[in-house]
C-alpha cells in the first residue's frame, strides 16, 4: 500500500488537473475534429485558440440559469451535480504515478464500476425531471444503454482482475511489469473500449442525446452552468475511461526512459484522441442495433473471455497457492 505523504495536496492536485483536462478537452476535441475534417477549428482566441475555453466559460457563466416552470425543480438541479460527483469520485482511486493516488482502495475496480453505475441516475433523473418528451426518451435510452453495456463492461475487466489477482488498481499495474494486459487480454481490451464509449455516451453511442432526433436528448431543457456541468461531466467521463483503459490494459505508468507520470498522461492522451477519432468517423447505430449488439454479441464474448481466462489461470496455477 502506497499512501501519498500529502493527501490534501494530492486530492486538490487530482481535482484541479482533472477539471483542467476536461475543460481543455473541449478545445482539443474541436481542434481535432476540425483537423480530421480538413478545417481549422477555433484558432482565434489566444495562441492556437486555447482561450476559446475561457471565452466559452465566461459566456456559460453569464447565461441565465433558467429552470423551466414545468420541471421538477429539486431533481432538475441535483441531476447535473450527480454526474460530476460520481465521475470525480472515480478519479479518487486512479493511480497516476507511483505514490500519487488519492485513495489506494483494495476494491478500486469495483468502486469505479459502482460509480459509473450511479452516473446513470444523473441522466435518467435529468430526463425525468425535465418533463419533456425528448428528454424523457433520451433518459430512457440512456438508462437502457448504460445498464446493458455495464454488464459486459464489468465482465470484460474480470479477465484482467483474474490475471492480476487483485481488484487494486496499483497492484494491477504492478502485475503488468512483464507484459501489458492488452496482449493476453486483447478481447477484453476491445470489449472494454466499446463499453467505455457507451458508458460515456460518446459518439457513436450517443443515442441518449441524438441531436438529429431528440433535440439534445436528456439535457434538452438545460442551459447555462447546469448544461456546462453535463458537458464537463462528459469530458471528465472520457478522461476517466481513457485513464482506466491505460491503467487496466496498457500498463498505466509503466514505460521506459520517461518518468512514470509522463507515460500515464501520454497513454491517456492518445486514448482520448482515439475517442475523438471515433466521433469523427463513425455514424450512430439504430437503438435496437445497439441493444442487439450489446446483449447478443458483446455479452457472450465477454463471458467466453472470462471463462477461457479463468480456465487458463486455474490450469497454470496448479503449483501455486492463491
Amino acid at each position: 500500500m502506497m499512501i501519498s505523504p500529502y493527501p490534501v495536496a494530492t486530492i486538490f492536485g487530482v481535482l484541479i488537473v482533472a477539471l483542467t483536462i476536461a475543460a481543455g478537452l473541449i478545445w482539443l476535441e474541436r481542434r481535432l475534429l476540425a483537423l480530421w475534417q480538413d478545417r481549422y477549428g477555433p484558432n482565434r482566441v489566444g495562441p492556437f485558440g486555447l482561450f476559446q475555453v475561457m471565452a466559452d466559460m465566461i459566456k456559460i457563466f453569464f447565461k441565465e440559469d433558467w429552470i423551466p416552470p414545468f420541471a421538477d425543480k429539486t431533481i432538475f438541479v441535483i441531476a447535473p451535480a450527480i454526474i460530476m460527483v460520481t465521475v470525480l469520485m472515480s478519479f479518487a482511486v486512479l493511480p497516476i504515478a507511483p505514490g500519487i493516488v488519492v485513495s489506494d482502495l483494495n476494491v478500486g475496480v469495483l468502486f469505479i464500476l459502482a460509480m459509473s453505475s450511479l452516473g446513470v441516475y444523473s441522466v435518467a433523473l435529468a430526463g425525468w425531471s425535465s418533463d419533456n418528451k425528448y428528454s424523457l426518451l433520451g433518459a430512457l435510452r440512456a438508462a437502457a444503454q448504460m445498464l446493458s453495456y455495464e454488464v459486459f463492461m464489468g465482465l470484460s475487466i474480470m479477465g484482467v482482475v483474474l490475471l492480476a489477482g487483485s481488484f487494486n488498481l496499483v497492484q494491477i499495474i504492478d502485475a503488468q511489469r512483464g507484459l501489458w494486459f492488452v496482449i493476453p487480454q486483447f478481447l477484453g481490451f476491445v470489449l472494454f473500449l466499446i463499453a467505455g464509449v457507451a458508458e460515456t455516451r460518446r459518439l457513436p453511442f450517443d443515442l441518449p442525446e441524438a441531436e438529429s432526433e431528440l433535440v439534445a436528448g436528456f439535457h434538452s431543457e438545460y442551459s447555462g452552468m447546469k448544461f456546462g456541468m453535463f458537458f464537463v461531466g462528459e469530458y471528465l467521463g472520457i478522461t476517466l475511461i481513457s485513464s482506466l483503459i491505460a491503467i487496466l490494459f496498457l500498463g498505466g505508468w509503466l514505460g521506459p526512459i520517461l518518468p512514470p507520470i509522463v507515460w500515464f498522461l501520454l497513454k491517456t492522451f492518445l486514448l482520448i484522441c482515439f475517442f475523438i477519432l471515433l466521433r469523427a468517423s463513425l455514424p450512430r447505430p439504430r437503438f435496437d442495433q445497439l441493444m442487439t449488439w450489446g446483449w447478443k454479441v458483446m455479452l457472450p464474448l465477454a463471458v467466453a473471455n472470462l471463462l477461457v481466462t479463468g480456465a487458463i489461470v486455474v490450469a497454470t496455477a496448479q503449483g501455486r497457492s492463491f
Partner: protein, 171 residues
C-alpha cells in the same frame, strides 16, 4: 467490422490533407471578375454618367431595393436626379445589371460592406458612382445611340449613316 476500421483509418489520414479553410481577414479569397457583390454606377470614357434613368433596373429588381428619379439636363441627356440602392434589401441577384441598356449599373467583386447602423446601408448616387467605365472600358452609350443630344446631331453617332432627306425622292 472491417469497414468500420477502414473508415476510421481514412478519417485519420485526413490529418495530412490540406485544410480547405481560408483564414479570411488575413487571407482574402479569390473572387471572380464577374462576382456579384457591391453595386456601382459607372461612367462613360469621357466622364459623363452612363445611367439614362430608364427605370429598367428598378422594375426588374425582385426586392424593390432600387429607387431613382429621372430628369434631363439642358442638352437633352437623361440622367437620374437621385439614385438610391437599399443594400439591406438587395439580394445581389444581378438582374439590374442584366436589364441595364447602357452598362451603367454593374456588380463588383466586393462583399465587405458590413455596417453597425442599418440606415448606413442605403447608398445614394454619390456613393454608387465610380470614376471609371467598370467592366466595359470603350463603351459610350451616347456616342453609339441614335438619340439627338446637345453637341451631337442626328447622323453624328459612331457607325451611323446620315439621316434620310424626306424631301427628295432620289436615292
Amino acid at each position: 467490422m472491417f469497414s468500420i476500421l477502414q473508415t476510421m483509418w481514412n478519417v485519420f489520414l485526413h490529418m495530412f490533407h490540406r485544410r480547405v479553410t481560408v483564414q479570411y481577414p488575413e487571407e482574402k479569397p479569390y473572387l471572380a471578375p464577374r462576382y456579384r457583390g457591391r453595386i456601382i454606377l459607372s461612367r462613360d470614357p469621357d466622364g459623363g454618367e452612363r445611367c439614362v434613368a430608364c427605370y429598367l433596373c428598378a422594375a426588374v429588381c425582385p426586392v424593390d431595393c432600387i429607387a431613382l428619379q429621372a430628369t434631363e439636363d439642358s442638352s437633352g441627356r437623361r440622367y437620374p436626379e437621385f439614385f438610391r440602392i437599399n443594400f439591406s434589401r438587395c439580394i445581389f441577384c444581378g438582374f439590374c445589371e442584366d436589364a441595364c441598356p447602357t452598362y451603367a449599373i454593374q456588380l463588383t467583386p466586393d462583399f465587405e460592406m458590413g455596417e453597425y447602423h442599418r440606415p448606413n446601408l442605403v447608398y445614394e448616387k454619390e456613393d454608387l458612382l465610380i470614376n471609371g467605365p467598370g467592366k466595359y472600358p470603350g463603351y459610350n452609350f451616347w456616342r453609339v445611340c441614335g438619340v439627338q443630344i446637345g453637341g451631337k446631331d442626328k447622323g453624328e453617332s459612331e457607325r451611323e449613316a446620315a439621316p434620310a432627306d424626306v424631301h427628295t425622292l432620289l436615292p
